[in-house]
Symmetry: C2
Subunit: 332 residues, 2 copies
DNA sequence: AGCGTTGCTTACAACGTTGTAGAAACCAGG
DNA sequence: CCTGGTTTCTACAACGTTGTAAGCAACGCT
């Protein structure tokens, strides 16, 4: 049913290696031989066995992308860009869901592939420097916050600056009681810490006192968490006139909670998010947010990985910052 | 750097095959031998080379999931469930984006794997029966509409019934000028045709005349298309008092357009969708929709595939229908 | 003691491919 | 028609793994 080089070779009356040469476009093959082989290939519907090729070559042509959750729109959108960018390098992308657990992430990084993949683009939540050091073997590019002094390449946005800018925008609207939603105490919360720092910096610059009661934690960054946090803020007696949510899904949840409380956005409370996901362009009201250049992030990550697999094999870890901008819409 | 069975064998003072037996949990290995081998494995950080194993076994442990677009929430949510279900069978999932083009889909089905994958779960938009017949080799499960008389297993929801139910619900609310958004004339629009049929059936049952002007086409099923279609309906002079959108993203776009037009949902216009994506639970207003059991769909698909790869290798094509229910919320 | 049985281990070949090295065919120039 | 240099093709080995079959102890039974 499934044919091998050998079958094609017999049919074309040449050696196995000659067929291999035709398949791989090797140049020294006479035109008529090539034609005969190609005919045989077509007739038998021959397709190379990638496992065998990989075994022989030590390369698989597959890279993995490991993200915490696929149905968080930010990661889905990012995944699309990574797939596109990787395709330009002739790679297939194996998309992996880590669930954000350090165990899962370690497994993704060390386990997935074991010779099944050439490299890994990992968006870590829980991974520590120790975990990374233990991996070593696999060429890897990390997305998001720096795992301090990890040995891997890195693509990130300037979270602190971005958070500062969007908070400053809220200040510029005349808001003074600006809440933040999404803080996290856990070690996984690297992004949360940086965005909180940016938020605090903007307040400080504006001479607004940092008020602990205005900072709402969120165990995860889903819509439900945003809604819950917002409800908590509203019932706790601190009446914010603006909220900076650490990502867009939190913000969409917050919008929902404000709506249920009968408050108008942005008149009563301005809302800002982070990520610029598709939903935010159609929500009611549309969402003002930080727009990281996801396409660029994906492209940079793929390119770093390409470097690691090629000429820059032994280069020192590099760290690239992708640009971001503010996408100001109705909510703030 | 990377070690092989042979290295472990030498270190443990046993044969290569014995190490292989330990790795694969073969039973006839003396406890002390096993211990020695395991120690050697640990010391060398040995990990099997999957390419070699696959070559030998003819199985890769990877299945592919090919969907049109990853950042359509429905597919992202589905992907998550598939990954979860596949993990229970010990499979890794290679997620592929076809973009909905028939060329791409054919490539996904025939090309991706070529011995890289054991099977394929494909959500086809454009694939014809001919395309499928040409593939043959790869065990495959299709999601969504039947490609007529294709030879592959199939998991679907009863689109006609579901569409009829949700439309009947709109009728039950007392609406009479019920629009539909999302019709498609192209061959890709199999889902669109079925949902339109369900819509028409519900109208007929209620004795409401089918009005062509109330049926708005949508080239794709994105939020922007839904918004555009809704705007078109509103400006064309046919004032609907309800809209059934053929998926949730269309519906979210429609909500947005209605909001911009100053119309209230559901008071002025009731809105219903299809898919039950996460967004719809937090939109303003929350979205009434058809909720296909995505978790079940994923599980059935994986199980069918498992069957094809195992005992039911030669079974005739099966067709399973996953249940759905109405998720009635604020918008209708 | 001889026999079969059971438990443990091993050598060998094979999976389908490609790199290496070299053989065969071809070509031009004398 | 030989020489030397290409071009074109081929045999062989290897990538790392596992299935097969067979070897070797040690055991219990007659």
């Amino acid at each position: 049913m499934r044919h091998r080089l050998k079958d094609v070779a017999e049919r074309a009356g040449v050696s196995v290696k000659t067929v291999s040469n035709v398949v791989n476009g090797y140049q020294h093959v006479r035109a008529d031989t090539r034609a005969r082989v190609e005919e045989a290939i077509a007739e038998l519907h021959y397709r190379p066995n990638l496992s065998a090729r990989n075994l022989r070559k030590g390369r698989t042509g597959v890279i993995a992308l490991a993200v915490p959750e696929l149905d968080i729109p930010y990661f889905a959108e990012l995944a699309r860009h990574v797939v596109t960018a990787a395709a330009e390098h002739g790679w297939t992308v194996l998309i992996d869901q880590t669930g954000g657990g350090s165990e899962q992430e370690r497994k993704a990084a060390s386990g997935i592939g074991d010779h099944m993949i050439d490299g890994l683009i990992l968006s870590p939540l829980a991974l520590t420097a120790d975990d990374l050091a233990a991996l070593d073997g696999l060429p890897m590019v990390l997305l998001g916050e720096r795992v301090d002094h990890g040995p891997a390449d890195h693509v990130m946005v300037d979270n602190v600056a971005a958070a500062r800018e969007i908070t400053a925008h809220l200040v510029g609207l005349g808001r003074r009681r600006i809440a933040a939603i999404g803080s996290q105490r856990t070690p996984e919360g690297a992004s949360a810490r940086l965005r909180l720092a940016g938020y605090a910096a903007a307040l400080a610059e504006a001479g607004i006192a940092y008020d602990d009661r205005l900072v709402a934690p969120a165990p995860a960054w889903h819509r439900a968490d945003g809604a819950a946090a917002m409800r908590h803020l509203l019932t706790s007696g601190v009446r914010p006139d603006a909220v900076f949510c650490f990502n867009d899904t939190l913000a969409l949840g917050a919008l929902r909670a404000l709506h249920e409380a009968g408050l108008r956005v942005p008149e009563d409370v301005a809302v800002a998010g982070f990520d610029d996901i598709e939903d935010g362009r159609f929500s009611i009201p549309t969402l003002s947010t930080v727009a990281p250049d996801k396409e660029r992030i994906a492209r940079l990550a793929v390119e770093l990985l390409a470097g690691r697999l090629g000429p820059d094999r032994e280069a020192p870890p590099r760290e690239l910052v992708a640009p971001h901008r503010l996408a100001l819409r109705e909510s703030a």
